[in-house]
């Protein structure tokens, strides 16, 4: 007669659901990933107010030295020689999609004359709205 049945405990960590968790994480990353069309390194101006920029906006970046890169929002940005080319670029974007927003990603220390020419080109191309890309201002700065 057996008095006690053997109580064998499984000592391994249960990993059956690990793949499910991993695939959930993959789906999360795939849905939230934002492919950056412009990787130009600039020191952005800091503002208290910031609004969400629509997806697939066209990007125009201006570095501290005044170098300009443009992207219609679907491809990686390319350098352009000057503001004259910004006008033709913006005109083609507006002709394709009149409501598309433009994002101005300019260095906070760039002399305003460079930005002025870009804004003027956008006005002439009849762009509707520009987003001035910015970082959140900290409390100390405010």
């Amino acid at each position: 007669m057996r008095l006690r049945s053997r109580n064998i405990q499984n000592q391994g960590i249960p990993t059956a659901s690990m793949a499910d968790i991993a695939f959930l994480l993959i789906i999360f990353f795939m849905l939230t990933i934002n492919f950056e069309v412009d990787k130009t390194q600039v020191g952005l101006p800091r503002t208290d107010l910031r609004f969400e920029i629509p997806k697939r906006s066209a990007y125009i970046s201006v570095t501290r030295q005044g170098q300009i890169r443009v992207s219609a929002g679907d491809e990686v940005s390319v350098p352009v020689p000057g503001p004259g080319e910004v006008l033709s670029f913006a005109a083609s974007v507006v002709a394709t999609d009149p409501g598309r927003a433009f994002v101005l990603k300019a260095d906070r220390d760039v002399p305003y004359q460079y930005v002025d020419r870009v804004i003027d080109a956008l006005k002439q191309a009849q762009a509707e709205v520009i987003y001035l890309l910015s970082e959140q201002a900290t409390v100390e700065e405010g």
Partner: protein, 145 residues
């Protein structure tokens, strides 16, 4: 004579699925960038032949000098004093035009700071600055008088 039974496993091997999945996670974590996707919106006016011209005397002119010094209607003023200066004018005329005119050599960041301050008027003084314009140099050369 004994024949050994050859059993074929009829299950799909899933042991390495977690490894593949975690490799994909690592890929997404490394390639996803926390890009700045926020900014200040600025609606551009339509260029029309019959656009009404604003008289300089009817508007508030904010000039921005290199280094960030502000000259408001001809007088130096700190950034946090601009809205207090505008408040009585906006109470009399809610559509009072405000013109931001940065010096060509002024840093762009100061223009954004002034625009940000004007956009915060509803929270700070309870009035909205509805009519903000930032004329370009070409427009100034064409229309400024």
């Amino acid at each position: 004579m004994k024949f050994s039974r050859s059993r074929v496993d009829d299950e799909i091997p899933t042991a390495s699925m977690a490894d593949i999945a975690f490799l994909l996670i690592v890929y997404f974590m490394l390639t996803s960038t926390f890009a700045a996707t926020r900014g200040l919106d600025f609606a551009l006016p339509e260029e029309q032949e019959d656009t009404p011209l604003v008289d300089k005397e009817e508007s508030v002119l904010i000039e921005i000098r290199p280094g960030g010094q502000l000259i408001v209607d001809g007088s130096p003023m700190p950034l946090d004093g601009v809205l207090d200066y505008l408040k009585p004018k906006l109470e009399r005329n809610p559509a009072k035009p405000v013109i931001i005119r940065p010096d060509p050599n002024a840093e762009y960041g100061y223009m954004v700071a002034v625009f940000d301050e004007l956009r915060q008027a509803p929270e700070k003084i309870g009035l909205e600055v509805r009519n903000v314009s930032i004329p370009t140099q070409r427009e100034i050369d064409m229309f400024w008088y």
